[in-house]
């Protein structure tokens, strides 16, 4: 699985290093969105051969090469995820922080309408929407 990433990077002229291998492994083994800091923390407890700056640089590289998706899930940290699932929507609960992944087909009509009516080519492939999830709706009052 990580092999694909490594092969692509090699083919494109990048070098493969233990650090990059670790980071890719951490990314692909996590099935959720993950921050640079989380990747660093999970790896750093085993080996000291990794620096947080390298994590950021590698993530930037992976995003630029289109192998990883960078997502804003609110808050101050940026999240990363492998692209394997393809486009999807993030439904981020403001109360419990849970992230539900909704089907991309949900916004296809919207994308079409924005193009037609505003001539705007919206990139909705990894959009995040904020709100309140089912569980928290029953607990909290909905301010909507």
């Amino acid at each position: 699985m990580q092999d694909k990433y490594e092969t692509k990077l090699r083919v494109r002229g990048y070098r493969m290093t233990p650090q990059r291998e670790m980071i890719i492994a951490a990314l692909t083994s996590s099935d959720h969105h993950i921050t640079a800091e989380e990747i660093f923390a999970s790896l750093h407890e085993r080996t000291r051969a990794l620096n947080i700056a390298t994590v950021y640089r590698t993530l930037d590289l992976l995003v630029e090469e289109g192998l990883v998706c960078r997502t804003d899930l609110g808050g101050d940290r940026v999240y990363y995820a492998p692209l394997r699932h393809g486009p999807h929507i993030h439904l981020v609960c403001r109360h419990c922080g849970q992230v539900i992944e909704a089907d991309y087909s949900q916004i296809a009509p919207l994308k079409k309408r924005l193009q037609e009516q505003y001539d705007f080519a919206a990139d909705l492939k990894h959009v995040s929407f904020f709100g309140i999830c089912e569980t928290c709706q029953s607990t909290e009052q909905v301010e909507n």
Copy 2:
């Protein structure tokens, strides 16, 4: 126009100060989204009786009181705008930075669908979508 803001704040027990007046005036007179730094800069060139920290604190207050909308338009700064228009969508061009305001009705169906299918109450009142605007589409290649 600003009077409404000031009245509401007074009624809710807040004090009215020259600084808050200035900030509210700057916000309401700007018909676009504006950053804290921009507000500060525009006011500070006339009077030294204003501090950037006060701008941030006042904006926080106005947002908490529901009088101003805080919006993430990508990039590292946060944008603010008076709520007068009511809910709307921001279409942010990644190329030229232009922000088109699209009608909220565009996403009403999406909101409904997310509620039905995922039991998720999405807050889409001031959503931003990133993409390429008409002008830039003809200039640039569309990576979509």
